[in-house]
């Protein structure tokens, strides 16, 4: 039995949440059972991802290759669980557990009756399964399908809230995300026409051979892929849908959308740029310069926009735009240090943003207020929630000994290695701006007199979820060792293509 499990680990990470998602709908009347099953599904996913990590670790760098249906590449769909896949699968499943815990018994106010709550969980598990699929897949068309599953379930999660603004945000998101998918699919089509392969490894090799013959088509394919994933991952000038969607979604959905979904697209973008197009082509077309510039612009503009927001969740949503800038920047540096930083920061931002959004959701649910200046005294009335928020803020600002610091540090060193001064300025300015938009929240919450109303910390599962995430921010900040090693190896995997 264990041998059987071990042999099928890469696909189990993906199908465990999907399987359970499909038995949930008929159980809508027994909502407790649905919640427990959803929680179990994420725990199963985490277990599978953890086991996969140990297996891949024991293989010392050679990835765990799984051929669906036993068809070898280039014919069949291939799942490759290398260090890159493992780190992302761990992040996805790891963050999904506390978020689903937070949602437990807590959705009725935002989402509605049991049928709607069940649908929320179905979409949630589909999203988690598809994101885990993005981590391990090595097939171009498979990526497109997973991208669509993620997009549709994200839109469903945004529209789950019973509010006209949620429907509006979901529609904008759906239209722009589908626009992005069309671009991605167009890019995949062009790559397929040039190479005749859908397997990323084979397509990459073939593209390396033929691109001098078809310079314009390759340029078109690169720009399609960057625009497509750029829209979906909210890379700065293409971010317009994100604040509305992430601020109006139910809080657990905001956490997972900001923390994970956006990262999934970024991971796919990295896989395309490094695994398919390859470093030579990127340098030739100056794609890395464009990415660096987009990243710098994203950090500065996202942070400045966040600074002007009055509502807590919108401020956090704009902050996501800024943090995506860091990741794009790291992807564009084209050196191992920068990529290590980007991958590590991807993980830390997933955990930190989930903490912040869940804490913000708990505050909004307890107080009924969403504007920052109305939150005076929350810190004393809801100590645990606000403590989690503060720890998350410290992490996002990048204070030493918190999870966000090491990623930013590596990005900084990577920019210096690449000999670029603009990213260094942007990273430092981003941290300062981040402090400027998060610290006022904390000051208002702790140091302003509280009104005489009974605001309370949320229920037990919610507290546990916040505690888990906040602990992760601190523990992984103090002892990043194994995780950093994993990020370094994953970056080395990508750098092998440069």
């Amino acid at each position: 039995m264990t041998a059987l499990l071990r042999a099928n680990l890469p696909v189990l990470v993906v199908i465990a949440p999907l399987f359970i998602a499909f038995i949930l709908t008929p159980l809508a009347r027994r909502i407790r059972l649905v919640e427990t099953l959803a929680f179990l599904a994420t725990v199963l996913g985490l277990g599978a991802a953890g086991h996969l990590a140990t297996v891949v670790f024991a293989r010392r760098g050679s990835p765990f290759i799984y051929q669906l249906g036993g068809w070898p590449p280039p014919w069949g769909i291939e799942l490759v669980a290398g260090n890159l896949g493992v780190i992302f699968a761990l992040v996805v499943t790891g963050v999904s557990v506390p978020v689903v815990l937070f949602a437990r018994g807590n959705l009725t106010a935002e989402v509605g009756d049991t049928g709607r709550v069940t649908r929320f969980y179905v979409l949630y598990l589909l999203l988690v399964g598809a994101l885990a699929g993005m981590a391990v897949t090595n097939d171009l068309f498979n990526i497109y399908v997973l991208v669509e599953v993620v997009t549709l379930s994200c839109c469903g999660l945004v529209s789950a809230r019973r509010h006209p603004r949620a429907a509006e945000a979901a529609f904008t998101y759906l239209i722009l995300a589908t626009l992005g998918s069309a671009f991605v699919l167009g890019g995949i089509g062009l790559i397929y026409m040039l190479t005749g392969h859908l397997n990323m490894g084979f397509a990459g090799q073939e593209l390396g051979r033929v691109w001098p013959d078809y310079p314009h088509t390759v340029l078109l394919a690169v720009s399609f892929v960057i625009i497509g994933f750029g829209v979906k991952a909210a890379v700065f000038p293409l971010h317009v849908w994100l604040p509305d969607a992430h601020a109006t979604a139910p809080s657990p959905a905001s956490a997972i959308l900001s923390g994970l979904a956006v990262k999934g697209y970024l991971l796919c973008l990295l896989k395309f740029l490094y695994g398919v197009f390859g470093g030579v082509l990127l340098r030739e077309l100056a794609v890395h310069r464009i990415l660096t510039l987009l990243g710098v612009a994203g950090i500065i503009a996202g942070s400045l926009l966040a600074l002007t927001q009055e509502e807590l969740k919108r401020r956090l949503a704009y902050s996501t735009v800024a943090q995506v800038g860091y990741l794009v920047l790291g992807g564009g540096l084209l050196n191992a240090t920068g990529l290590t930083g980007a991958l590590f920061y991807l993980a830390s931002h997933a955990v930190i943003k989930a903490t912040l959004f869940l804490a913000a959701g708990a505050i909004q649910a307890a107080t009924g207020k969403s504007r920052i200046r109305e939150l005076a005294g929350v810190g004393r009335k809801m100590p645990l929630t606000m403590a989690a928020f503060t720890i998350g803020s410290c992490g996002l600002i990048g204070l030493p000994l918190f999870f966000g610091f090491i990623g930013k540090w590596y990005l900084l060193v990577g920019s210096l290695e690449a000999g670029m001064i603009l990213p260094v300025v942007a990273i430092l300015a981003g941290s300062v701006l981040c402090a400027a938009y998060l610290l006022p929240v904390i000051r208002t919450a702790y140091f302003r007199p509280a009104p005489a109303v009974a605001w309370r910390d949320p229920g037990r599962p919610q507290k546990l979820a916040l505690l888990l995430l906040a602990t992760a921010v601190v523990v992984l900040g103090v002892r990043p060792g194994p995780f950093l090693e994993l990020a370094r190896k994953a970056a080395a995997e990508l750098m092998a293509f440069v």
Binding site: N8, F22, T25, Q67, G69, G70
Partner: protein
């Protein structure tokens, strides 16, 4: 709708449309078409029934609970078919490798697990189409 001719004609035609949908689903492995196209045809036969005879009768024919079950378990069936080979140590979604008899090419039972998978997908697509239709009609009233 109280249209006599429409109702009689539908009563004659709809069963054949339904059976044709099943035919397309089952022959997906050997001819153009397949579970999605066939599922749409099956679903549309119910949609046509519900438009001609009224939503109430349509819902009586396919209660919501049935739709919920077919929709979920149709997809689950796909997954279970994928797991057939796992016990034999072959990967997920294996067909011939899992020891399934593939039969002679060109005949109905020549795809191994493919027609069975197609059946699950077809049922799922059909019930999704009907659910979508019912939901949209509800939204209006």
């Amino acid at each position: 709708m109280r249209d006599f001719i429409l109702k009689r004609a539908a009563a004659l035609i709809l069963p054949f449309i339904f059976v044709y949908g099943i035919y397309v689903i089952l022959h997906g492995a050997v001819s153009p078409g397949g579970s999605f196209a066939g599922g749409i045809i099956v679903g549309l036969s119910f949609v046509a029934f519900a438009t001609i005879y009224g939503i109430e009768k349509g819902k009586a024919k396919l209660p919501e609970q049935v739709l919920v079950w077919t929709e979920s378990y149709g997809t689950l069936w796909y997954g279970l078919m994928g797991m057939v080979g796992l016990g034999r140590g072959v990967p997920f979604l294996a067909n011939k490798l899992a020891g399934v008899d593939l039969g002679t090419p060109g005949t109905l039972a020549s795809g191994g697990l493919i027609p069975l998978i197609g059946l699950g997908v077809g049922i799922r697509v059909a019930s999704t189409i009907v659910t979508l239709f019912f939901t949209m009609m509800e939204e209006e009233s």
